[in-house]
């Protein structure tokens, strides 16, 4: 526990907790849309922003937010048109993003360690300025996702119905795209671009093993995200493992536990219900007489 007396460890913990809370709050809408892996693609594009930031000597995180937002908006426009060729357009964007990032980082004076810290995360090197960015942007994501839940639920659940309800569907879709980019960029510091989607998606997948509704899934996913972030950083500090990977593995462990628990609970309940209520057999629709 002594490790957490150091300010850099405290910053790592706070940063991880904010991201652990905000990432699933956004991720649940992506999962509902069956776009669970989109965060990965946006992360690839954010890397180009990091490279550009390092090359131009500007804050890599801020440049990454801008580049990733532009990328996410492009992805959203491709999605909204619903073309099959969109699949290939997304592939071009994603791989272009990661290749551009690696090239730009190489062109700048930075060492390969700084590329690694964006690819795999580097919680322990978060500066006080970084932490402020993470907390402010994380809080903004959290508030937006919670306040607009009914509207965002409606557009992700049934986009056509949302349009007929008079909702500003296009504006909300773009908002979701930009929010994805922002979340990806702040989560990049914690788990790295290669593991970002995990923080947005795994807690949601774990939560819905035991929940019945959207709202309860969201609450449970945020709780699990918080738990995974906290316990992951604790494990990393004590066992000297990579923090990003530890956080993601804690989230996957909670998925495994809840999935098994959910199966056991449902089996148990079915048995109890079956014992309590004698099954009533539907009468046959017709009775045929044999002649």
């Amino acid at each position: 526990m002594e490790l957490f007396q150091y300010p850099y460890m405290q910053r790592a913990l706070v940063g991880a907790l904010v991201i652990g809370l905000a990432a699933p709050a956004l991720g649940i809408y992506l999962v509902q849309r069956r776009l669970a892996l989109i965060g990965d693609g946006v992360g690839h594009m954010a890397l180009t922003g990091v490279g550009a930031g390092l090359l131009l000597n500007r804050s890599p995180v801020l440049v990454a937010v801008i580049v990733a937002s532009l990328g996410a908006i492009t992805v959203e426009l491709v999605r909204a048109r619903g073309r099959t060729s969109g699949d290939l357009a997304l592939a071009l964007l994603f791989y272009g993003g990661i290749a551009g990032g690696v090239m730009l980082v190489g062109l700048s004076d930075s060492t390969s360690t700084s590329l690694n810290s964006y690819l795999f995360g580097s919680l322990s090197t978060i500066s006080p300025t970084d932490l402020t960015t993470i907390v402010v942007l994380g809080a903004a994501i959290l508030v937006t996702m919670l306040a607009l839940r009914p509207a965002l639920f409606a557009i992700c659940h049934d986009e056509e119905y949302a349009r007929v309800s008079g909702l500003p569907v296009r504006a909300l879709n773009l908002l979701l795209a930009v929010a994805t980019a922002v979340t990806v960029t702040i989560a990049m510091r914690a788990v790295g671009v290669l593991l970002i989607s995990a923080l947005m998606v795994v807690p949601v997948a774990a939560a819905q093993q035991v929940t019945r509704g959207f709202r309860s899934t969201m609450t449970a996913a945020m709780t699990l995200g918080l738990f995974a972030a906290g316990s992951g950083v604790y494990v990393a500090a004590n066992a000297d493992t990579a923090p990003g990977a530890s956080v993601v593995l804690m989230a996957i462990a909670s998925f495994a536990v809840l999935a098994l628990g959910g199966v056991a609970w449902r089996t148990l309940r079915r048995r109890r219900v079956a014992a309590a209520v004698p099954s009533t057999v539907e009468p046959h629709e017709v009775v045929l007489s044999r002649s």
């Binding site: 649940i28 999962v31 509902q32 849309r33 069956r34 776009l35 669970a36 491709v78 999605r79 048109r81 619903g82 073309r83 099959t84 969109g86 699949d87 306040a147 607009l148 009914p150 509207a151 639920f153 409606a154 992700c156 659940h157 049934d158 986009e159 056509e160 119905y161 949302a162 349009r163 007929v164 309800s165 008079g166 909702l167 500003p168 909300l172 949601v204 819905q208 929940t211 019945r212 509704g213 959207f214 709202r215 899934t217």
Partner: protein, 253 residues
């Protein structure tokens, strides 16, 4: 004559160069219950989607409550019941959560739900006989019950006009009855209905007018036509596969 609720004037619609509807005109006035009939692929669903502004017209015009559909903003006056619950939903949602989405047109996106919203949701769920399933995930309901969830969602917004796309296709008898009952109450309160179907079943006594779409145009506009041939048999079970009538987008929810 009462005010026109839906006015379609010489509308033509095509998907990727292929004409689905040529020259369709239709007026629905307040209090009417109009059934749009026709074979699979005749364009009857496309017609309703055009009325809602979901499909662009290649020529002609559509007006809702005397306003061109492109400029129409009073969506709370309309309740839309799609053919089936969209594929959207990688995350479970309860019956109540889905029905509550029907209040958004009235409430707007920023105001949290109030007591009136909650009461409207309860009333709508009771109207379709699902008051005991409010906390269940919609995915655990039967097809007919899911269809009733969709009509409850539309009713929750307390609309003046209901537009239903094949509400009873492949729905069990109990759900059809519950559905007809809910629709009857809606009509008795002065509501207007536009309903796409290819069999009317228990809804038949409610229909005041039938419009038959055939070969891209309107072949009949008047009383409900009598079923012919084996379709007239009271035990005729109208079962055949429903073709995919919309191109499914890879990323569409």
């Amino acid at each position: 004559m009462s005010a026109p609720v839906i006015t379609v004037t010489r509308a033509a619609i095509g998907y990727e160069g292929r004409a689905v509807l040529r020259d369709v005109s239709l007026t629905v006035t307040a209090g009417e219950v109009v059934a749009v009939l026709g074979a699979n692929g005749s364009g009857k669903s496309t017609l309703t989607r055009a009325v809602l502004g979901l499909v662009p017209l290649s020529s002609g015009s559509v007006a809702l409550f005397d306003q061109p559909v492109r400029r129409f903003r009073q969506w709370h006056r309309i309740g839309y019941v799609p053919q089936r619950l969209g594929a959207g939903g990688g995350v479970p949602a309860t019956v109540r959560e889905v029905v509550a989405a029907g209040r958004l047109a009235r409430r707007g996106i920023l105001r949290p739900p109030g007591r009136a919203d909650r009461r409207a949701v309860e009333t709508a769920l009771a109207a379709v006989d699902l008051a005991d399933r409010t906390g269940d995930p919609v995915s655990t309901l039967s097809g007919g019950q899911q269809q009733r969830v969709l009509i409850a969602r539309a009713l929750a917004g307390e609309p003046e006009l209901l537009i239903l796309d094949e509400p009873t296709a492949g729905v069990d008898a109990a759900s059809q009855e519950a559905f007809a009952g809910a629709l009857q109450d809606f009509v008795a309160d002065g509501g207007t209905v536009l309903l796409v179907a290819h069999e009317l079943g228990p809804l038949r006594p409610l229909i005041s007018r039938a419009v038959v779409v055939h070969a891209g145009g309107i072949a009949h506009d008047g009383p409900v036509p009598e079923p012919a041939g084996h379709h007239a048999d009271p035990d005729h079970d109208h079962v055949h596969p429903h073709g995919p009538n919309e191109p499914a987008g890879l990323w569409s929810a």
